[in-house]
């Protein structure tokens, strides 16, 4: 069983790596340049999958937060923490690729348009979520505080999604692509989604194991404490 699991993991990461390399190759060698924007439009092929996977990671964290408050099981807290970690990573990628695109397409690195502002706010909210987790020492208290905060932080996700269509924005809300570009975009979703799901799974597994180890260490200290107290009294 363990051998099968190891083989599956190795195959998963190998496929993710190969598909990542293949899609980058396809973007630069097999996809035509966009007529008005030129080469810089190729950033879009990873920018959009990163943004969609950010939303999915935030949704996983949100579901974990609600499930923790409902059932009070630590696995939900560990899942939320893992998804929030990956959401911050993906959102960083979205912001950086968007800024580079903006530099070439709009002539400026950043503008406070609704979608950009809400995206930056989303990144900031989940960075604070991770900081809140490290600042609370009691595991139970940390889980409750971060679950409540995570539910509030998720409210920004629909704002990011709807901002470009509901408010006047420099950021394009809907993009028309040629069939070859659509195919490349569809392929780019494979490595990004695989990486996002794989990273959440690995981080979740590490969180579970870290919790077990810290629980075991605490019970070791607790077991040693009465002897230390007796020794001190003598």
């Amino acid at each position: 069983m363990s051998m099968l699991r190891t083989t599956f993991r190795s195959a998963y990461w190998a496929i993710a790596g190969l598909s990542f390399g293949a899609t980058v190759y396809a973007v630069f060698n097999c996809t035509p340049d966009e007529a008005t924007m030129g080469t810089i439009q190729k950033i879009f092929y990873f920018h959009l999958p990163l943004a969609i996977c950010t939303f999915l990671s935030c949704t996983v964290a949100f579901v974990g937060n609600i499930a923790y408050l409902w059932q009070r099981r630590t696995k939900w807290d560990d899942l939320s923490a893992a998804a929030a970690n990956v959401a911050v990573l993906l959102c960083t990628g979205v912001l950086i690729t968007g800024m580079i695109w903006g530099r070439c397409a709009w002539g400026q690195w950043w503008t406070w348009s609704p979608r950009l502002t809400f995206s930056f706010l989303l990144w900031l909210l989940y960075v604070v979520y991770l900081m809140v987790r490290t600042s609370v020492t009691s595991p139970q208290r940390r889980a409750i505080v971060s679950a409540v905060y995570g539910i509030v932080a998720f409210l920004d996700v629909p704002l990011v999604y709807l901002s470009a269509s509901l408010l006047p924005d420099i950021h394009p809300g809907h993009v028309q692509l040629a069939p070859a570009m659509q195919l490349t975009l569809a392929f780019c979703f494979i490595p990004v989604t695989m990486l996002a799901a794989g990273l959440i799974a690995v981080r979740f597994n590490l969180n579970r194991r870290e919790r077990l180890v810290s629980d075991a260490q605490q019970s070791e200290y607790a077991a040693a404490l009465p002897f230390a107290a007796v020794g001190g009294a003598v």
């Binding site: 990461w13 790596g17 990542f20 980058v24 973007v27 030129g38 080469t39 810089i40 190729k42 950033i43 990873f46 990163l50 990956v86 990573l89 960083t92 990628g93 950086i96 690729t97 580079i100 695109w101 530099r103 070439c104 990004v192 990486l195 794989g198 990273l199 690995v202 981080r203 590490l206 194991r209 870290e210 077990l212 180890v213 075991a216 260490q217 070791e220």
Partner: protein, 43 residues
């Protein structure tokens, strides 16, 4: 820098971010395994 170089930089940053984080988790897992051996937890 021209548009092609900006695009390349963007792809390199995305690759480093994602695969760098994957490598970071791999090393965290290795050090955790050592801690598990010390405490007697089953890895």
């Amino acid at each position: 820098m021209n548009a092609g170089q900006y695009t390349m930089v963007a792809y390199v940053i995305v690759g480093v971010l994602m695969w760098g984080y994957a490598a970071h988790l791999f090393w965290v897992g290795r050090s955790l395994k050592r801690r598990e051996m010390r405490t007697g937890e089953k890895p």
